[in-house]
Amino acid sequence: MDFLGIFTSSISFIIAPTTIAYALATLGLALHFGFGGLLNMGMAGFMALGAYGYAIGILSFGLPWYLAAFVGIAASIVFALILGIPTLRLRGDYLAIVTIAAAEIVRLMLLSSAFGGLTGSADGLSGFNGPGGTVTNPTVGAGGFNDSNPIPPGDYGFVPFLDNERTWYLRIVGIVILAIAIFIVWRLVNSPWGRVIKGIREDEDAVRSLGKNVFAYKMQALIIGGVLGALGGLMLAFSTNVNSSVYVTSLTFFLWTALLLGGAATVFGPLAGSIIFWVLQAFLGLVFPALAEAGLMPFTTIQAAQIKYIIVGFALVLLVVFRPQGLFGNKKELTFVK
């Protein structure tokens, strides 16, 4: 069994594009739930809109990639408005059901063959990052995200972070976006705006009695968090094809696990939670099949690859029960108020 190989592959997930995507979306959830008390169970929908908005912007409207990225962000803002205007008055668990249903509606629409010309239905979309464009339209996608890479071809870094110029470009773009996002959220939650949002989380009526427009604050939080989710989706779209089977309810639940792992009401918790989540996922996903292959565990390698998901589920239960503030959270800053 190649322990060193498993170890280095797992460690490489510390700065993998997927980890950064999760960290961005989880940061959005932290703003929604940890600071604003909004029980958003539809983050996968925001991510899907970010990714698909970007891909469709390039493929169907022929936009340059950086403008297409704004299409994805704009789509998530529109989604937040449509979702928020009617639902932000609802009680916590009602909001959870509405958001989860809305995200499923988004996914089913993207999957449906009714809009197959735009969304590629079950096949999803590909070839929008360039270079080379798509088979049907060779000019599309040229000058895309990949072509904007200034790093000369070649392998850089050291094990476990030894990768080609494309992966490094993805990582650098991701880390820059994430750093800016974390800075903005940090400034926001420590501003007067952030104190109002936290006040709403603790006691909505008290904040209202102080003359604050609770609805407007909640809506702002929903939009900012939703944009962060869309940025997460964009990050996924930069790195690979988009497919509606990625943006399922389970994705939202995994984001919640990462969030509660790091600490819902913290700024760096989402990043820490996402890194721990992905490094552990990668490690467990490799170590169990390896053990099974070596005959040290009594099941097949396919079964062994499933164990990590079972662990995620039960870990989420244990986290909520025994450490609801997360690994890095402050117990005084209650995360589950109602």
Binding site: L90, R91, I97, A114, Q306, I310, F314, V317, K338
Partner: protein
Amino acid sequence: MRTMSTMRRLASAVGAFVLAFGVLGLASPAQADVVNPEMPFKISGNVQNKGEPIAGVTINLTGSSGYAATVMTDAEGKFTAGVPEKLADYTVTVDETTLPDGIAVIDNPATEFIEANVQTVTVGPGGRVTMNFFIGQGERHVTSMFDQVVQRLISGLNFGLMLALASVGLSLIYGTTGISNFAHAELVTFGAVATFGLVAVMGEGLLWLAIPIALVLSGVLGWGLDAALWAPLRRRGMGLVQLMIVSIGLSLGIRYTYQFFIGGKTEQLPGSGAERFNLFGSVSLSMIDIVSMGVSVLIIIVFAWWLSTSKIGKATRAISDNPSLAASSGIDVDGVVRIVWIIGSVLAGFSGILWAYFRPGIRWDMGGQILLLIFAATTLGGLGTSYGALIGSLIVGILVEGSSLFIPSDLKYVGALVVLIGILLFRPQGILGRKERVG
């Protein structure tokens, strides 16, 4: 739903074959019945039913600048028409009255939901185009609207009754404990998976015995979950949001445990491909549909009787109304909640068995596929009201099945989810709920 999707698959298979044949056909257009051969450009095509050419079908062509032509397919099902312009659109219509009885043009998956017997083709720069008509048993164009509506209603009723079994359980649990139990989906799956496992061990002949045992096991699971997890959390006084997230984690954990044991494939329970027989017109049912509806109705009646007359049923309703008042008037809240978990799990397990026949098939995430519909049904009827959950389920079931008459069938769940959101916005207490439930 079942026949529909099989038809679709059949149609696309036929379509793919016809398409391949059509390209070959282009190479030898000489045998086709030809009109306007003097014109410079050509539209040619094939009309076939499962590879059998259909002769004597009338095809009407119209185009811009007043072009119109009528052509009839030859013995090989082919036709060719000369057209005056290239880079122009033409409308090609199959006269369905000239098709043999009982078959019709069925939808090409790529151009779904336009009238399939009318197609628009563009004669490209090459000056010629080949087109194909997908012919099959006339599911859409021959079946009368009335028959379709009746078929959908029956199907929807069947689906709704199945949903009802799951949602009354969810509603009872919500009413007595306040938990929005996302793991209810896994209780649904459990009934089907347990039946499948027992049948695998005991043999297909003992299905009648496997189902009751699976239901008992469902009850044991419900009891176990309450004893090991929910009761201790209740005692800790954990908040509702926390409980909801615990149920999400539990749902993920159990769901992937099923996948661990049965893998990612779909398995069938014995008798799931039962023969369908005609009621009238083109409305057909299988024996399983009838049994499943009958048993659902029976169980729901027994359940309603239990809830409204028995001592524990009354205690359950008292706890739903006001837990502290119920406790202070001497009701053993923990004991009743334990029973509610057991009953809810048994009902969910039974609904899972019916769902395995309705889909058809058993999959590790089959419960998750209808979880939001169950939530929609419960919310529509009024969270925490059992009779409301029943009414809500029937509405959702008929809505889901009926909506596929009007919208693409891969969007049929969307209708129910839109209703779910709509009801939370305009009447969050649901049809039968009372206003004070909404905090």
